[in-house]
């Protein structure tokens, strides 16, 4: 008897790790991995950091830059049927339809389609407006990142701030606009965000906070207070939207990504799972609210869980539904590593437990984040990894799971 047939949609970090985990657990499975991009699975974080810098300053040819991004894999070519350069357009009763019109049959579908950048819904300056999610985006933007050019970044989240730092290194003049009062405010909270604002200013970024772009005219963006920002180049970095349109009609809850349970099985379906950035799942370390988590660490753990669930279900066993991964993310800005554990975004209070926030960028700082007297996150700014690792375990200590699962 042949094993289960499984279609993984999205050939990036989450899709690749899911394929590997399934092949490891069910070597008899027939796995098809479909990806809209023509590139084999590669790593995105360097796209706003060293990779785009190398593409822009020409210190390495594009092939060499891509080679470094390529995700190493334990798969053998014969383990999966790889279909690149084709998007899935819809789900049908016995499989998925591809953009070239062909049908891929399968019993299980795993959504690993990630996110795409939000765009400003206003016209103007189209030829110089960029986003950054893919290697192709990075190549297009890098070609324009020349010393002396004026760059306007709309959105001061992590990606916007990293592009600002990289562009300053490359010698551009950088303006960063965001409607909130501080950069990365939602992720880091007011005090740390204010310290990061200071770091950007100290590095020559023109930060305009509490303002948004209302329109574009020839060579300028006009802000809501009438300010005119002349610019050669615009990057829209206002966050992302989940790629779930192809799942309409499946019965899944697509409110914000694909709602799944601790098995990674989509609510309202039996044979649809979701992994990586597109999955919205509850994490009992914190509470019972399902959330999407846009961190590099999530594709790996959700992939493994999805594979375990399919292996159990196809064996007629009950899969493990308890899922409580410790989130972690990092960011590199001006040579400083920001490393976070847990969910600082959920905190009500921030306490500096090492260093001094006014010295961010020059001295190590560690901040503890709490909600209801429980530690929910730790953020290190240029901190020693060993001391950070010690504090990290206190999140787990404080986290006798909130809800029994």
């Amino acid at each position: 008897m042949s094993g289960p047939s499984i279609i993984i949609v999205g050939a990036s970090l989450a899709g690749l790790r899911t394929a590997e985990a399934i092949v490891a657990l069910r070597p008899d499975a027939r796995v098809t991995l479909v990806g809209a991009e023509s590139h084999p699975p590669y790593n995105r974080p360097p796209l706003s950091k060293e990779a785009i810098q190398a593409l822009a300053d020409g210190s390495a040819p594009p092939d060499a830059v891509f080679e470094k991004l390529l995700l190493r894999s334990r798969l053998n070519p014969e383990d999966v049927n790889l279909r690149l350069g084709r998007a899935v357009t819809g789900v049908e009763s016995d499989g998925v339809r591809l953009s070239d019109g062909s049908l891929v049959r399968g019993e299980w579908i795993i959504a690993a389609t990630g996110l795409r950048p939000r765009r400003l819904p206003i016209p103007g300056m189209e030829s110089v407006r960029h986003v950054l999610r893919s290697f192709d985006d990075a190549q297009g933007l890098a070609a324009e990142l020349q010393p002396g050019k004026r760059l306007l970044i709309v959105g001061a989240g992590f990606i916007g701030c990293e592009i600002a730092a990289t562009a300053r290194k490359l010698g551009l003049s950088v303006t960063l606009v965001d409607p909130t009062p501080q950069p990365m405010l939602k992720a880091l909270g007011a005090r740390v965000a204010a310290a990061m604002a200071q770091l950007h200013r100290a590095n020559g970024v023109h930060l305009i906070l509490g303002r948004f772009v209302e329109s574009f005219t020839d060579g300028s963006a006009i802000l809501d207070d009438g300010q005119r920002i002349e610019t050669d180049l615009v990057v829209e970095a206002m966050g992302s939207r989940p790629n779930t349109e192809w799942l309409s009609g499946t019965g899944a809850d697509l409110e914000d990504g694909v709602l799944v349970d601790g098995r990674m099985v989509a609510a309202g379906t039996e044979n649809l799972l979701a992994v990586g950035d597109v999955a919205r799942f509850p994490n009992p370390i914190f509470d019972t609210v399902p959330r999407r988590v846009e961190h590099w660490s999530i594709p790996g753990v959700t992939a493994k869980r999805a594979a375990e669930s399919i292996a159990a279900l196809t064996d007629g066993k009950e899969p493990d539904a308890a899922f409580a991964p410790m989130p972690s993310f990092w960011s590199d800005q001006y040579g400083m590593r920001l490393q976070a554990f847990g969910a600082p975004t959920l905190a009500e209070t921030q306490t500096v437990i090492e260093g001094d926030l006014s010295r961010v960028g020059t001295e190590p700082v560690i901040v503890e984040y709490a909600r209801d007297d429980r530690i929910v996150g730790i953020v290190g700014l240029g901190a020693n990894p060993a001391s950070l690792a010690k504090h990290r375990s206190r999140i787990a200590d404080a986290s006798t799971p909130f809800a029994a699962v």
Binding site: P385, A386, A389
Partner: protein, 61 residues
Amino acid sequence: MKIDVDLTICLLHGQCVIAAPEVFSFADDGSLVWVTDPDEGLRADAEAAADACPEQAIIIS
């Protein structure tokens, strides 16, 4: 099983320390230390660490 870390690309994320604490750890000065030939029983942990490393710096052979 042999474990090698390419320290020219390791950026001390410490994801390996979380995934496989019996194999990887930080010295007090913050440098990464690891068991170069761990017991075969730790293979799954070591592979999880290699997968969790954002720089793909861990080589298992």
